[in-house]
């Protein structure tokens, strides 16, 4: 509907306006979308000094926040859950969650509406946004789990909670795929699983660029899962079919290394889930119920056990669901951790090791070997540029012990796109960055950063800002495209076209050491900025 409206508008323009009328695009109202739903503010968003100002009330209320106005003091209050923002018209001083902050741009009033930079609102409410110059519109995406995470009910349950509190709190904060309301599905099924395990990409830690080591393929022994990602597609254990019987869980124990759960008989079929804010690891055990010895430990339906594990605050358990009967075990984490479900001989036992979470970043050098990529204006190949860049990023990023760098290639090797995707997904990486060089007409120049899934937008924005600054090349914007490596990866994924190899000036720089070092440093700082480990 909206597109046909735009189309119609365009056609009317075509018929009525002289060509020059299109120069006056500032007069076109900016459209505002939230999760691809058109919002209808009283005042259209405006571009002022390079900032997109949006009406606070429309945006905040569409995000479920309450907006208050005190005419005497010209004060605006935005409240949602524990988020409390106090603003004063024409003043840059603001109070956010009780902390004084200085805004880049003061709120102003336009036709009775308080206007604030979109960037500010996005940051405060965890809303991702994108400016689409083509349709002159702002697209905001609110991941449902973010919205839920800041609602008051999501605070951790204190010990000795009443009744069903434990269950409800955990239910509310589950970032299960069924509640993602983003316009595109967050995890897209791979249409043709023609993945072959053979062409093995290489992993390097600590910047050893030419010594490929075998991939730590997720062996049946255990699968690592990074924090904050409940990936429905990645099932850590091949799920045997339940026998339909309900089996009694007889003991739950957390040692200093492992969680050990035993059932009287049957097969335990754990469904792991990682939750953030606060960090928890949850195991649901369908077709089980707590036995009397465990029930005795419970206060109402909540049981609690002490933890000997350094990463875990405490263990909670409950008879969580009825159909099928399901025991839920929750590990309240002191710090982010990865779990690894160990393979044990006894099918009625669950043994889970908890290990330090390490951030994993996949750096993908575009092209390679028989796929040379674009040929540059001086006859050099894109694959050289991308490899040099990737290796430099690896060398820099691997210096940070908090980050594990995984390289899709470290030499002139050909890797299929699907294998790049599988490599990142199998290793459950936290981020994916693909580095490329562009090609078109001699005069075309600049940086383009591409993403496909909405959850990659933040990362794209950070990468783009850093690379535009480091290169000094024209800003050709963050764009969307369904390139395979950014489409089918399961983590935030970005493809950056650093510059145009068909442009003499850009090409000359792109093959120099100093320029590559500079851009590599900017990519590393962008990654760290995004991961919040600056």
């Amino acid at each position: 509907m909206k597109y046909s409206a735009i189309l119609l508008t365009l056609l009317v323009c075509l018929a009525m306006l002289p060509v020059t009328a299109f120069a006056a695009e500032g007069d076109t109202p900016i459209k505002l979308y939230l999760n691809e739903k058109l919002l209808l503010p009283e005042v259209a968003p405006q571009l002022i000094d390079g900032n997109t100002l949006v009406p606070v009330r429309t945006v905040a209320e569409s995000l479920g926040a309450k907006v208050g106005w005190d005419g005497a003091s010209r004060a605006v209050t935005v409240v949602k859950g524990d988020m409390n923002i106090q603003l004063t018209i024409d003043k840059k001083e603001a109070t956010i969650k009780g902390v004084r902050r200085t805004l880049e741009v003061a709120p102003i009033i336009v036709d009775g509406n308080t206007m604030l930079p979109l960037r500010f609102i996005g940051e405060q409410f965890g809303v991702k946004f994108n400016w689409d110059a083509l349709t002159h519109s702002v697209h905001m995406f609110r991941p449902e789990e973010t919205a839920v995470a800041i609602k008051p009910g999501a605070t951790p349950v204190t010990s000795g909670g009443q009744g069903q509190e434990l269950d409800e709190a955990e239910v509310d904060t589950q970032p299960t795929p069924r509640i993602t309301a983003t316009p595109k599905p967050t995890v897209k099924p791979t249409p043709t699983p023609k993945l072959t395990p053979t062409p093995t990409p290489v992993i390097t830690k600590q910047g050893g660029p030419t010594t490929p080591t075998p991939v730590p393929t997720p062996t049946p022994k255990g699968t690592l899962a990074p924090v904050g990602s409940a990936k429905p597609g990645v099932s850590p254990t091949p799920a045997p079919t339940p026998d339909g019987q309900i089996h009694a869980v007889t003991s739950i124990e957390l040692t200093d290394k492992q969680l050990i759960v035993k059932a009287k008989d049957g097969v335990l079929l754990p469904k792991p889930l990682k939750l953030t804010n606060p960090a928890r690891i949850v195991f649901d055990l369908p077709y089980t119920t707590l036995d009397d010895s465990l029930k005795k430990l419970m206060n109402n339906n909540n049981g609690e056990l002490p933890s000997k594990h350094p990463f875990v605050e405490k263990v909670r358990f409950s008879n969580f669901a009825d159909n099928p009967a399901t025991v839920r075990i929750i590990l309240d984490l002191k710090q982010p951790a990865d779990y690894r479900i160990e393979q044990v001989k006894e099918p009625n036992q669950l043994v889970v090791s908890l290990v330090q979470h390490s951030l994993r970043v996949v750096i993908d050098a575009g092209h390679g070997a028989k796929d040379p990529g674009a040929e540059s204006v001086t006859g050099r190949y894109e694959k050289e540029f991308t490899l040099a860049m990737a290796n430099k990023v690896n060398a820099l990023l691997a210096q940070d012990p908090r980050v594990e760098v995984l390289m899709t290639r470290t030499d002139d090797t050909f890797v299929e796109l699907d294998d790049r995707v599988a490599f990142a997904n199998d290793n459950q990486a936290d981020l994916f960055l693909s580095i490329h060089g562009n090609k078109y007409k001699p005069e075309t120049a600049g940086v383009e950063t591409y993403y496909d899934r909405p959850e990659s937008l933040d990362f794209a924005n950070v990468i783009h800002r850093n690379v535009v600054q480091a290169t000094g090349f024209p800003d050709r914007k963050v764009r969307t495209a369904d390139y395979r490596v950014i489409k089918y990866t399961a983590m935030p994924a970005v493809l950056v076209e650093v510059g145009y190899l068909s442009n003499e000036e850009e090409e000359a720089l792109m093959y120099t050491e100093s320029f590559q070092n500079q851009v590599a440093a900017s990519l590393v700082s962008a990654i760290k900025e995004y991961l919040n480990i600056k």
Partner: protein, 190 residues
């Protein structure tokens, strides 16, 4: 995808407007050619072409071809008349046009491409295009995106083509230029 197509349509419209002013209907974008019945009819290869009396039947046909705009953002549609042997069908001649933009502001996305073989299997309604990318043929990610769009639009303007098989140097590949999928076959979009 739909939105991108419409965005493409919009931009094409704007580009056309900027380049030519209003009212030059033969240059209008793909979304606006619904009323341009003459073009659509003439795009039906065999029946409307005027048969020649001489033996090696040369036929003429007005076809659409697609090029990159100055900003590598959208396709530009152009029309041109091709001459082809009735026995061969219009496909190879239509694809050859992709290498020759007719107007300023349009850039060929196929400059470095050699079409080795273009064959239509009428029984399967399938067109097979085997191509090679020369030194200059491989584009960046956005170029490959537009390249594939241009190829598909050009091929599927022929109503009888229901699917398209693209081979590179005679073989099926996962991706032509290392960014986009290359499904085999590519089905006619609905």
């Amino acid at each position: 995808m739909k939105s991108r197509w419409i965005q493409g349509t919009l931009l094409a419209g704007v580009v056309v407007l900027a380049a030519t002013g209003c009212g030059q209907k033969q240059l209008s974008g793909p979304g606006q050619d619904a009323g341009n019945a003459a073009v659509q009819e003439s795009a039906q290869p065999a029946p409307t072409a005027t048969p020649q009396q001489t033996a090696p039947a040369k036929q003429q046909l007005q076809v659409k071809a697609y090029f990159g705009d100055d900003n590598l953002s959208q396709l530009i549609e152009q029309e041109t008349t091709i001459t082809y042997d009735a026995a061969d069908g219009p496909y190879a001649a239509a694809l050859a046009v992709l290498k020759q933009p007719q107007e300023a502001g349009a850039t060929s996305l196929f400059a470095g491409v050699t079409f080795n073989k273009v064959a239509f299997d009428a029984a399967k309604s399938e067109l097979t295009v085997d191509l090679s990318l020369g030194a200059d043929g491989q584009l960046g990610a956005p170029g490959e995106d537009l390249f594939l769009q241009a190829l598909k639009k050009t091929v599927f303007q022929f109503q009888e083509v229901q699917s398209l098989v693209v081979l590179k140097d005679g073989g099926a590949v996962e991706s032509l230029m290392g960014h986009m999928d290359l499904p085999n076959p590519i089905k006619r979009p609905n």
